[in-house]
Symmetry: C2
Subunit: 258 residues, 2 copies
């Protein structure tokens, strides 16, 4: 269970001018709908939202975010990839904030299918090089996450807080009533994420490449879009497990059985 005091959000890092905040959850979520986690980085009073989610979450997330930063000071919205649970709220977010949208260049031509018209507000991540600097000097680094699962995906590493926002990677689907905000023991969480990772990551070759590159960043936390936030030893245990996972096209005979 998530502590009732945390339902409306939790500050994961705060050094006075730079914060990384989890935006909370619903007390009564909808059955049959995969749950998502939203995060907000606030740096010297300006905000970046990470995968703020689909249409049906919009009212809750906009309320949570606006308690922490005025909407007209949200300057960036990061989309790890193109899935509906990540990006279908895009037109609403463009309407209530002046933010630019950052997503892999593979998807910039697809987003208008949600009804957006102002292409000048959609920025391909590849065009930015390896990251961006915020007002305080803190850096956000874009970490290639292609084929984990989406062919065009990025994670975002907040160098100041040392928190990696990983999109679908690390996503756990907890049984009802067993949701938790933090994962401190990877082995306890593994049954709730093993099937998903085996099924959606393209192959061990890419899982190993990603986990090696993330290990070099030595993140304090890994914060995925679903499930719980990995801390400390659970970060290392998760990366070590992921690097050895057989998945996706490694299991082609299961997927393409005659």
């Amino acid at each position: 269970m998530i502590d009732s005091g945390d339902m409306n959000g939790k500050v994961l890092f705060d050094d006075g001018e730079h914060k990384f905040v989890w935006l909370g959850t619903d007390a009564d979520y909808r059955r049959g709908v995969v749950q998502t986690m939203q995060y907000l980085i606030i740096d010297k009073g300006r905000g970046w939202l990470l995968d703020p989610g689909g249409v049906h979450l919009f009212s809750r997330v906009v309320a949570s975010a606006s308690r922490l930063v005025p909407l007209d000071r949200i300057e960036g919205i990061f989309f790890s990839h193109q899935d509906p649970d990540v990006s279908s709220g895009i037109a609403l977010w463009l309407g209530v904030t002046p933010a630019k949208i950052y997503i892999s260049e593979l998807w910039t031509r697809f987003l208008p299918h949600f009804g957006i018209v102002d292409a000048s507000r959609v920025v391909p991540i590849e065009s930015l090089g390896k990251g961006v600097s915020l007002g305080s000097g803190a850096r956000l680094a874009f970490v290639p996450t292609h084929f984990m699962h989406s062919p065009g995906a990025f994670s975002l590493f907040d160098e100041r807080s040392r928190i990696l926002f990983s999109g679908d990677v690390g996503a756990a689907i907890f049984p009802e009533g067993e949701e938790r905000l933090f994962i401190d023991d990877f082995e306890l969480a593994r049954p709730h994420l093993e099937g998903f990772h085996r099924r959606i990551i393209a192959s061990n070759a890419v899982a190993r490449r990603w986990s090696e590159s993330v290990s070099r960043l030595s993140p304090a936390m890994i914060a995925p879009q679903h499930g719980g936030v990995f801390r400390d030893k659970a970060v290392r245990d998760f990366l070590s497990w992921l690097g050895g996972l057989r998945c996706g096209v490694d299991l082609l005979d299961e997927l393409y059985k005659a």
Copy 2:
């Protein structure tokens, strides 16, 4: 150029009780938005729509489809995968038709992020076995297309017309003014589809597996969601090329360059 007589659609197969129809295109499409192709199967007066597309296409596609079959006789909507250009119109389509939505079970929990609530109208394709029979006895077969690109994707083979609807596989992006409905010479189309396929298909292992299984079906046409419809020899040439393509995680060093 697409013949002006074909802009409003083209019947690709018709034996009197079973039709496979391409639903046409816009005379002046929007720059910077990837173009999509929509198809309708009509069998004894009942319809199946294939990847009817995102929100901004809805009014055109609903007009095209309703000229051919009453909307209340559209009983199935097939989604090859979960991308926004395929599925973001789902709530609108559920509103104007009594159709059920057919999509890989991997995505049924994600679709509610578009705002849908009636889960009883979303059917996981895996639960149906290998296909469905229509009123005339004609069969639609579901062809696994996982990791081409989406981890949960299907093509649909209309056994009567021998037309394979392939979703993103075979998608070409023609330069403006060079769009065409049919691809009869694969070599002429190849430059417009090579980059896309190298980038989004997970690996040669899966490309080869898919092209072998589709070759066994011996389709008369392959109709993708973008680009042009392959006919006759171009079908075989495309499948042969695809089976040998190095792509996705085969090119990990390009994707994950340091």
